[in-house]
């Protein structure tokens, strides 16, 4: 039966207001709530629905990162993944390295479909899925808003700048999820209990033969330029006058 790999990343919770450290060394992460990347939850939900339709036998959640990622893999198990793998490393992981690590697991497990979020909301890189597909020499269907599996192929509708594009890809393939692919389920308490008993394997990055090379050195992190607070107007007449004053309407 078909195996699906879902890559999940631990990120700062999307509701958190990001603050940049005053010395420019990064953003403040101490005591900040961490969560699964929202796009990855959507990818996982899609994998679970495919399995529930009987089109896959097993869903494996995989993450690359330090030991603290384990509770988030438990969350993925509670959502419904059958088992989880942590590729453990304390190094800074760029998308290319994440893709190499995922490729090693994809090959070891002989998965037929790899589902990823289209981007992580921390580095906003939007690269890992495409890179995995390139290294695997398999098709990619990015920014998916609809996925249909048929005999040996996936028909995927993609959210592109011009509208909606549909492509057909042979399996195995990589699919990355966009926002409107689905709405992830809520986790019920019994599922959290059950997840504690599901297998969570830890593999060191080095044992996969992947070196955590850092190509992009971060020299400085700064807050964006702030926009000055503007003026408030009382009614349509004042609004129109203000627009005329700055010359955007005549």
């Amino acid at each position: 039966m078909r195996k699906i790999l879902v890559a999940v990343k631990r990120v700062v919770d999307y509701n958190t207001r990001i603050r940049v450290k005053s010395d420019g060394s990064g953003v403040m992460l101490d005591g900040v709530k961490m969560a699964l990347n929202p796009f990855d939850e959507i990818a996982l939900e899609e994998a679970l629905r495919i399995r529930e339709r009987g089109q896959a036998g097993e869903v494996i959640a995989v993450s690359v990162g330090p030991d603290d990622v384990q509770p988030h893999l438990r969350t993925a198990l509670a959502m419904g993944a059958d088992r989880a793998i942590l590729v453990r490393t304390d190094a800074v992981i760029e998308p290319l390295v994440a893709a190499r690590a995922l490729l090693a697991i994809v090959k070891r497990e002989a998965v037929e479909l790899a589902l990823l979020g289209k981007q992580a909301i921390d580095d906003d890189a939007n690269q890992t899925g495409q890179m995995l597909a390139a290294l695997w020499e398999r098709p990619q269907a990015t920014f998916a808003s609809r996925v249909e599996l048929k005999d040996g192929v996936a028909v995927v509708t993609r959210e592109v700048d011009a509208g909606l594009e549909t492509i057909e890809v042979d399996l195995p393939a990589v699919i990355t999820s966009d926002l409107r692919l689905n709405e992830p389920r809520y986790i019920k308490l019994p599922e959290i209990m059950k997840a504690k008993k599901k297998p969570l394997e830890v593999v060191d990055l080095a044992t996969l033969g992947v070196t955590p090379a850092q190509h992009l050195k971060v020299l400085k992190t700064e807050a964006p330029a702030q926009r000055a607070r503007g003026v408030m107007v009382k009614d349509t007449g004042e609004l129109l006058a203000a627009l005329k004053k700055i010359g955007v309407v005549s």
Binding site: D123, D124, N126, Q140, E159, G163, E165, G230
Partner: protein
């Protein structure tokens, strides 16, 4: 000296406006020589538009039937092969560039700089992270091939110049057949393009329905503006996905941005930070959109918007 290959984003014989902005970014590299490559089944029209951009030294065309549609798996090996003669490979940060370039970078064995927003040297750049709430300066080792998507809102479009010479290139590279184009359903519109429009009128969840959204279209038409929307309005089905403005939609930098019934989630503000003038109309005086608006009006949009449309008459 920087030799830059810009990959043209185009659709139905028209060059995407992001490409001209990408050319500007490429021109900021030290001693830059900028080439644009057009991969297409019929490249002439697009090549002509690219050749007319100031700062472009040469346009390359790779014309073959397989390039009829922008499939990353098909285009990437071609771009990776061409990259051998260049120090930098750039593409606009459109869905085309975001899909294609990481695949090229992986084939070349290098990391990608996503959403490049400032050039500080041949290998030093600024880019946004955390939905634009933290700007990082990144540096690659000297001699590394730089693969980057360029954040369109951060650069002006290159003006008309040239024309630059055009050269047809044929590549000896096997292309995969595992990825096939089926269809594109594009919203047909004679309104200005959202990505490049000087004025944009956007509506949010407060519009309440697709029917009510018509007042946004009416105001936009009166202003000669493009129409945009918040994620909430797209999720609710009021407008199609391609109108979404924000972190995961389009990032735009118009002269005038009218946010109507949009509360201003961080993810939306990311998409409009570079607008020259932001106008907000919202019934909630506490809405975060007012923190970034140049002109704010607390009021009922169903009253204000028709009044404004009429006054512009």
């Amino acid at each position: 000296m920087s030799k830059v290959l810009v990959v043209a984003d185009h659709l139905q014989g028209k060059l995407n406006a992001g490409t001209a902005r990408c050319v500007t970014a490429a021109g900021r590299l030290p001693e830059a020589e900028v080439h644009v490559v057009v991969l297409a089944a019929e490249a002439a029209d697009v090549a002509g538009q690219a050749a007319a951009l100031q700062g472009v030294a040469k346009v390359l065309t790779v014309q073959r039937a397989e390039n009829a549609h922008p499939l990353a798996a098909v285009l990437a090996p071609q771009v990776a092969q061409l990259a051998a003669g260049y120090t930098h490979v750039f593409a606009p940060s459109s869905t085309f560039g975001k899909d294609l370039l990481p695949r090229v970078a992986a084939l070349l064995g290098v990391s990608q700089v996503s959403e490049l927003m400032a050039v500080e040297g041949s290998h030093r750049f600024k880019r946004p992270t955390y939905a634009g709430n933290a700007i990082v300066t990144v540096e690659l080792a000297p001699g590394t091939k730089v693969v980057a998507t360029v954040r369109s809102a951060s650069f002006e479009a290159a003006p008309r110049g040239g024309p630059a010479p055009t050269e047809a290139v044929s590549l000896e590279v096997a292309l995969p057949t595992h990825t096939r184009f089926v269809s594109l359903s594009a919203g047909k519109s004679d309104r200005p393009d959202l990505q490049s429009a000087a004025k944009v009128v956007s509506g949010g969840r407060a519009l309440g329905s697709a029917e009510n959204f018509q007042i946004i279209y009416q105001l936009a038409d009166k202003l000669g503006a493009a129409v945009g929307a918040s994620r909430a309005a797209v999720d609710a089905g009021y407008v199609p996905n391609e109108l979404q403005v924000g972190q995961t939609g389009k990032i735009i930098a118009p002269e005038l941005y009218l946010a109507i019934g949009i509360s201003g989630a961080i993810q939306h503000l990311t998409g409009i930070k570079d607008a020259r003038t932001i106008v907000a109309i919202n019934k909630d005086p506490e809405a975060p959109i007012f923190e970034v608006a140049d002109i704010g009006l607390v009021g009922d949009l169903f009253k204000v918007v028709p009044e404004l449309t009429q006054a512009l008459g």
